[in-house]
């Protein structure tokens, strides 16, 4: 079922284009503010914490742990698991868990990023590390 799932193509915009360009190369990017030092996700040009415009792109490790999840038992494209991953770098990101036994998901589980194709830039997902 999940192989057949077609993911929407990111629309992208000038503020986020660098994220999607990096995704095409298999790199998962976050933004970090050089004024306050905080990392954030999804990427903004103005730091949401200190409002500095000195934010820079940073390649993230792609590693993190499951903060929470929920396994949706039925959908038109089959069961899927949505959740949040807290990245090693700090920010928590919304995602789906893929390519793993969804019944075995648990909070605290280590996961890593994987990209899935769309008609445009690939989308980041997470799977068990």
């Amino acid at each position: 079922m999940s192989e057949a799932k077609k993911y929407p193509t990111p629309v992208t915009n000038p503020e986020t284009a660098a994220f999607w360009d990096a995704a095409k190369e298999g790199r998962f990017m976050i933004k970090r503010c050089t004024a306050c030092g905080e990392a954030h996700y999804f990427p903004r040009s103005i730091c949401p914490f200190c409002y500095s415009d000195k934010t820079v792109w940073e390649q993230a490790s792609g590693e993190g742990t499951i903060y929470t999840y929920s396994l949706m038992r039925k959908s038109p494209t089959g069961p899927y698991a949505i959740g949040y991953v807290t990245l090693k770098e700090g920010p928590s990101v919304q995602t789906n868990f893929v390519d793993c036994d969804l019944e075995k998901l648990k909070i605290g589980q280590k996961v890593k990023v994987v990209f899935k194709a769309t008609d445009g830039a690939p989308l980041p997902f997470f799977t068990m590390a």
Binding site: Y7, P8, V11, T16, H40, S70
Partner: protein, 385 residues
Amino acid sequence: MTIKGKAYIAGIYEHPTRHAPDKSTAQLHAEVAKGAIEDAGISKDDVDGYFCAGDAPGGAWPMVDYLGLNTKKLRHIDSTETGGCSYIIHLGHAAEAIAAGKCSIALVTLAGKPRTGVMPPRAAGAEADFESAYGATTHNAYGMCAMRHMHDYGTTSEQLAWIKVAASHHAQYNPHAMLKDVVTVEDVLNSPMISDPLHRMDCCVVSDGGGALIVTTPEIAKSLKKPQVRLIGHGEAMKGPRGGKDLDLTYSAGVWSGPRAFEEAGITPKDIKYASIYDSFTITVLMQLEDLGFCKKGEGGKFVADGNLISGVGKLPFNTDGGGLCSNHPVNRGGMTKILEAVRQLRGEAHPKVQVKNCDLAIAHGTGGLLGVRHAASTAILERV
């Protein structure tokens, strides 16, 4: 500056329908407007403030025109859209406008037909590319909250089930309720898992319908025939992942809207005799009770267990109409019906089997959006005069 006691709810109406294949959405808005206007005992030509949210077809200007409101008199319009709690926010904004002299008789309408029509689309925000592919729905977004609440505080499915059990005890007396059968904790636990850890009976119903309010000045309310109910405290707030820093899905924006409302009212949760708490899911109620201060964070499970929310049985009667879990959830927006049942309780117009004795202080609290993603919350504290 406060709105305490400066605005009264003089008219209420809840549409009896839960399934309206033979009606239009605009028609339902007109029917609830007419109902509230007649309940208040005023004329539609007296209305000088109109409030609606995203469920109103086309927004405020087509609705004002369709409803035939008196445009020579109408002088205050507000279409604040915060999902299911929009109407609790409207109530507060109406009170602000009335206190500032910007209008004197405000009409608030909600109506729609998710069962027999189309739902209004939800506009995408800046997060769209980074979230929309992951299929967040109400079920799984609230499931994520419940999962983490269980992890952090040991909350159990049995405890959540007690919320549905209490709602069902009340719904049996509501002739319009979609689900009138009293259910047990076991029934909830044995219902199919929808999105872990939420079972089907942890979820609210989907219904057509609507409701409306008339909010007015103390002077006008006192000249009308209905028992007087006034707003004495109001709060609103928003919460989201905010760049993903310190994510905590075990609390909602109710931790901010609640205290703001209680402070303005000058009372505490202990003073509340009846609580209308948005019940899109059982976990919504549990988290809101904690966030509003009816119990400590993490102790919601113990608080709701053993019938504590059942009128005549427990300490905090809640959603005595059966709420969204059993009665209705018009347009998937439960804020309006929360106000309506609170007003019925304060007027002494609730069903005799669930009417709270000496009900002089009530709370109506709601959330809108997705608790597990980004959402708003609003709290209204109402007093019988």
